[in-house]
């Protein structure tokens, strides 16, 4: 496995982890702040 593959797959794993954390691990991830400033999750 070349360096490109190692880096690319590592990025994929991190991305997957991020999505899982975002989707199923919201309990301790409550954001504070008023909405509209990008802190509410809306875009």
């Amino acid at each position: 496995m070349g360096y490109q593959e190692i880096i690319a797959y590592a990025i994929v794993i991190i991305a997957l982890g991020y999505i899982i954390k975002k989707g199923f691990w919201k309990g301790n991830n409550k954001k504070k702040g008023s909405c509209g400033g990008g802190s509410c999750g809306c875009s």
Binding site: G2, Y3, Q4, E5, I7, A8, Y9, I11, V12, A15, L16, Y18, I19, G23, K26, S34, C35, G36, G37, G38, C40, G41, C42, S43
Partner: protein, 702 residues
């Protein structure tokens, strides 16, 4: 070390509280010229002098200190709880020079809580033109407080206000009136229950059913206080009348207004803008102009950004050595992000117009106008603000439904608000309209594309009205909530505010959409560039064998290989599995994957398509890698017909007009309704409606 004090900024909605907050702290919070902008408290630091800093806490606008709505409860929680970390040392009550009588009701309540209080009368720069005069010294004596005339917009009187706050220890904390005189016997009895609390606080605990420390309604009742709900309400009314009598008397001698001088052009303009026929026509015309501008002004920057991302993809392939990482960047991340970023100009233009309309004061007239329109559909007058705000983003819009006291009206408003067209739908609408609606004009200036966009905004709004009518038949409400709206003066928009708002909203879009599309494009690239079994592994060999006897160029052959690989990749298999469900709507499996992914957020649709099409492209140096061209070139493999036609395009737009495709909105609905039942009901109802509408549209138009 500097001394720090805490200052609460309190006032009715739309008195310019946020402007005062900004003037004091130097921060740039969004200011709206229509009520209900501040729905949560926020804080900033103001330097009062070299030795003292103040933490300014900007509270949601409220007409009184009662716990009848969520935002009023935020105010109440702070002012009644000395253990609260933001419990203020001093309160600034902001009032509007033109609506002093109504604004002072809240002032008398704050004063009764025993805070050193400064009354900041805002927009004082308009006194002369409105023919208003105030005898400040006399009014100060009557209200037992310090008064400062200010103009937050022009930053006049801000230094005096800071000086007044510094002097707070010298203020009287005695109430300005004795409201307990309406029933001396009852209030004397109440005062004896817990002598450590003022009678006003005890009354609030008892009448509003709140708690201060360990003392609640039950504890007071245990000490022999008993009133029925009806008696409590009667006493509340009597106290309010008593307060207004006091305010009337105080203002009679100190505040005067020469109506002749005040009969300005505003009244005449208001009459036209809120007219039952012209009002709606003008609003429709303005919105149509906005959407025309979105199309007209954004096409050049949009194409430019689009082209830059296409060039970037080619450049990455050129400068990096071939490999998985290069493919991930050039075929996954760059096209994914490049699918969303070209919509920055549209979002910026939309919010520029919304800001200007808010700043000028026109939005308040729209709110008033819409109130008349919405009532027959079972909506409360107060539903207007969430429904109008929903055109930007459903999340703050749903949060702003907190100021609807009636729980059933609030629930209906929350359930229908996501139908209004939020900014995340713009990328989908714009790209589909540009693909399937001809760029022709009526009367030489009205673009059909712009009109189509206006139409889909109207469809979203009508869906909200019709759904609320249907829901109001099912969820009956015993009483209608009242709706008070103040008509602010027309103002020239402050360019800085418009620019800041435009920047903030566009940044929220770029960061919000960019973050998720970045991550999703990585995963979609992986799923598109990898597949199970031999069919994927041996794609090249298989296609070469199939085409060995046919005359195909090398370029065509590599396109066929890429297409075959994509079909047999993980995402291809997933897409093919869902194709039977989405094919009746006119979508192929690639569109299906984009639709499915965009349940995270609608704006993701275009980015996901960008990644899929790039992974499926055999030419690494594709010169025209722009998303619109790629979408236009997509064909059904069996018929050779284009995927994006008028029928499938309109079907997609109907789907996006009705579908609840935003996980953040689902989360906020759950939080605000505290009910999974209603959240799931809304999600299922909107998705089914979207599917049926898209199906009908496609089957009729194909």
């Amino acid at each position: 070390m500097k001394k720090k004090i805490k200052v609460a900024l309190i006032g009715n909605p739309n008195v310019g509280k946020t402007s005062v907050f900004n003037a004091l702290t130097g921060l740039n919070h969004k200011i709206g010229n229509y009520p209900g902008i501040t729905v949560d408290k926020k804080s900033g630091v103001a330097k009062l002098d070299d030795e003292v800093n103040a933490t300014i806490i900007d509270l949601p606008g409220t007409y009184s200190i009662n716990a009848s709505s969520e935002d009023e409860r935020i105010v109440l929680d702070l002012l009644f709880d000395p253990t609260n970390e933001d419990y203020p040392d001093v309160a600034i009550v902001v009032a509007d020079i033109e609506n002093l009588k109504r604004n002072l009701l809240l002032f008398t309540q704050v004063k009764e809580l025993g805070f050193p209080t400064v009354l900041a009368i805002n927009m004082a720069d308009h006194m002369e033109e409105k023919g208003i005069s105030i005898k400040i010294a006399e009014l100060e004596k009557k209200l037992n407080t310090k008064i400062v005339l200010i103009s937050a917009k022009k930053k006049l009187g801000i230094q005096e206000l800071k000086q007044a706050v510094l002097d707070y220890k010298n203020f009287s904390i005695e109430p300005c009136l004795n409201a307990t005189a309406v029933d001396t016997e009852f209030f004397s009895k109440l005062a004896l229950t817990f002598s450590n609390l003022s009678v006003f606080k005890l009354w609030m605990i008892y009448s509003q059913d709140i708690k201060i420390g360990n003392i609640g309604k039950k504890e007071i009742e245990a000490k022999g206080i008993h009133l029925s709900e009806n008696e409590i309400k009667k006493l509340q009314h009597k106290k309010t009348i008593k307060r207004y009598q006091f305010i009337n008397d105080a203002l009679k001698e100190t505040y005067s207004r020469d109506v002749n001088k005040a009969s300005d052009i505003r009244t005449k303009v208001d009459r036209i803008l809120t007219h039952k026929v012209y009002g709606y026509l003008i609003f429709f015309f303005i919105m149509m102009l906005v959407f025309q501008a979105i199309f007209e002004w954004s096409s050049i920057p949009m194409d430019w950004i689009d082209e830059q991302f296409a060039n970037l993809s080619t450049w990455v392939h050129e400068v990096m050595e071939p490999g998985k990482l290069t493919d991930l960047i050039a075929d996954g991340i760059v096209p994914g992000i490049g699918g969303v970023m070209p919509f920055i100009p549209q979002i910026a233009i939309l919010f520029m117009f919304i800001s200007i309309l808010e700043e000028t004061g026109y939005m308040s007239r729209v709110v008033f106008l819409m109130d008349k329109l919405m009532r027959p559909f079972g909506l409360s007058g107060k539903s207007v603000v969430p429904l109008i705000s929903g055109n930007a983003c459903a999340i703050p819009a749903i949060m702003s439904a907190r100021n609807i006291e009636n729980p059933k009206e609030r629930l209906i408003t929350i359930l229908v608000t996501p139908f209004t067209t939020c900014s995340a739908r713009i990328p989908v609408y714009i790209i589909i309209i540009a693909l399937v609606i001809p760029d022709t004009r009526i009367f030489g200036f009205l673009s059909i594309q712009g009109l189509t966009l206006t139409l889909f905004y109207l469809i979203g709004f009508l869906a909200a009205l019709v759904s609320s009518w249907a829901l109001s038949k099912y969820i009956k409400s015993e009483r209608k909530s009242y709706f008070v709206i103040e008509m602010p003066n027309y103002r020239t928009p402050i360019i800085k505010n418009v620019v800041v708002n435009m920047y903030e909203k566009t940044k929220a879009f770029v960061v919000g959409a960019g973050k998720i599309i970045f991550v999703l494009s990585i995963i979609i690239w992986f799923l598109g560039a990898h597949g199970p079994g031999e069919r994927f592994e041996n794609a090249e060999q298989h296609i070469t064998e199939v085409y060995q006897d046919k005359e195909v160029s090398e370029e065509e052959l590599s396109e066929h290989i890429a297409s075959y690989k994509l079909e047999n990749s993980y995402i291809g298999i997933l897409g093919k599995t869902i194709e039977p469900v989405i094919k009746p709507l006119g979508y192929d499996w690639k569109v299906g994957i984009a639709v499915l992914s965009s349940f995270v957020g609608r704006e993701i649709f275009v980015g996901v398509l960008g990644t899929i099409y790039n992974v499926g492209s055999g030419d690494e140096n594709d010169e025209d890698g722009r998303i619109k061209q790629k979408m236009a070139a997509e064909i059904w493999p069996d018929t050779g017909q284009p995927v994006f036609t008028l029928a499938s395009g309109v079907s997609l737009m109907f789907f996006y007009a009705f579908a609840m495709q935003c996980t953040a909105t689902v989360a906020i609905v759950r939080r605000e309704t505290k009910s999974w039942k209603w959240t799931i009901y809304q999600l299922v109802f909107m998705t089914v409606l979207a599917y049926v509408a898209a199906l009908i549209a496609y089957q009729l138009l194909k």
